[in-house]
Point group: C2
Chain length 306, copies 2
């Protein structure tokens, strides 16, 4: 989940190389600052939801204190590192928000597949990634990730997708409306393309089923206007921040049954299958010696295969 990109999924359009000698330092700093800012805003919103559970009816979960994020920094021996923020709360059973800024050289096996790495294996990558597994089966699980990669080319990637445990048409509608609004503010072609990309990506072929109700997924975004691409990537983060806490608030006070909880734990089994069998970010991260704890922070706290 902290991987810079999905090198086995080639770009649809060739990515322009940067002019020789062009410095990208200023933009790297802006991107790095944004991911940290977004992480702060998300963590604050989620901690607020932990507090807000007290405003609802008496439930066993209230016996537990409101959750707070714990941050752990990690260094990547080859260069860079990250901060893993994890909260085990009473609304958020387990949520990880990872920010990483790494740099180094792609190994020979990846060079051919990464745009701009064929000639120069040096890369820089920063990203934020988040997976939330909720205590209540009424509240959907969610994943969000955005990233910026710089090789001898550069691009943005990311997306967000929703995994309800109990299907709710209005949640799906709200989530997609937020994704669409973020896209439409930048390019009317984005939403249809990125929605389809998510539908294709978040699919378990061995089960012939979707992971959830989709969302948007994009990669190799390089319109030629770096500022516009960065603005879109910020907009995806803001859309997430606008919609997901609202969905949590919508359902966090509802009671649930043991059968719904069982169903949630079984659906989480499918989530594990997707992440370990199919998610290119996870496989890439593990194969390239990424931080195991940060990569597997996406695993649910508990899952079942009955």
């Amino acid at each position: 989940m902290t991987s810079p990109s999905s090198p086995t999924h080639p770009p649809k359009r060739p990515i322009r190389a940067l002019p020789p000698g062009r410095s990208t330092d200023a933009q790297k700093d802006k991107v790095t600052a944004w991911f940290a800012e977004l992480r702060g805003a998300i963590c604050a919103a989620f901690e607020g939801l932990e507090d807000a559970l007290a405003d609802g009816p008496e439930t066993p979960e209230l016996a537990q204190a409101a959750g707070r994020f714990e941050r752990t920094t990690w260094d990547r021996p080859e260069g860079g590192g990250g901060v893993m923020a994890v909260m085990r709360g009473r609304v958020f059973e387990k949520v990880g928000v990872n920010v990483s800024v790494v740099h180094g050289e792609f190994s020979p096996e990846f060079r051919a597949a990464v745009p701009g790495a064929e000639t120069d294996p040096q890369f820089w990558a920063a990203g934020i990634s988040l997976v939330a597994h909720m205590r209540s089966p009424k509240v959907p699980a969610v994943h969000m990730n955005t990233r910026h990669i710089v090789t001898s080319s550069r691009w943005f990637g990311g997306g967000m997708d929703l995994t309800p445990m109990v299907s709710d048409a209005s949640d799906t509608e709200s989530f997609h409306a937020a994704a669409r609004a973020a896209c439409d503010a930048h390019d009317p072609a984005y939403y249809p393309e990125f929605k389809q990309w998510a539908d294709e990506y978040f699919f378990l072929p061995h089960r012939n089923e979707s992971r959830g109700v989709g969302g948007i997924f994009y990669d190799y975004l390089h319109s030629g206007d770096w500022e516009a691409d960065f603005a879109f990537t910020r907009e995806v983060g803001q859309a997430f921040l606008g919609v997901y806490p609202e969905l949590v608030r919508r359902h966090m006070y509802e009671p649930w049954t043991n059968a719904e909880r069982e169903h949630q734990l079984n659906r989480r089994g499918r989530y594990v299958e997707f992440n370990l069998l199919h998610d290119r970010g996870t496989q890439f991260g593990l194969r390239t010696g990424g931080n195991v704890e940060a990569i597997l922070m996406s695993m649910p706290p508990e899952a079942r295969w009955p």
Copy 2:
């Protein structure tokens, strides 16, 4: 877990082709009968352990009836099928014993990697595979699998490996002693080679840790004496039957703590990681359209990533 072989792991020695026109039907029948016989013996032994729990101290598990295997047959659209036997009991939280006999053609992507399939893609494969996840963290989990593959060559493969949740040197010793005795009865070179193969195979590189305490793993066994190779494969099954129920009996009456149960559920998370990220049989089975339920029968009933 029901996959015929691990085509990405090439044989160490070339495998002789069968003489043209040579019928292998009689041997296929013998192998098929053996796997069914072994399945029957294992299921009977495991059901006996379910009953035997009543001979011990009063525990909450005794409120549940002794488990019994339920069998489900499945057909493979391309040819053959199998029988999945599953028991959800009070000693065996979840155990699957699958027997399959399948035939067909290897797809072009696998032909080059499978001995004897380069020239003729037809194959026949039969096997038994078993994974047991135990209710008590004091009782080790176990995996056993043996198989026979026929292409224009033919060979045996299989093994057994133990995954204790609470380490116990004498269990490890008993399990390896049984594996060694099975090997030594056939060839003194087998045990050291097959033990090392298991140590290499049942390893999680991303965690830099072993899945359990190993056992034996062998593949492409083709000594030139088919009867001897078949006898060895039967011996592995008998060794399993001799030692594993004994290990269960050794620990099934012991009490355990919540902390030990938590530890077990966390260790099962690593088991899931191994099976989905690294197990070639699982990946091969899923990629070649094997029976998903049978392949993923190896998943634990419950696992945690705290």
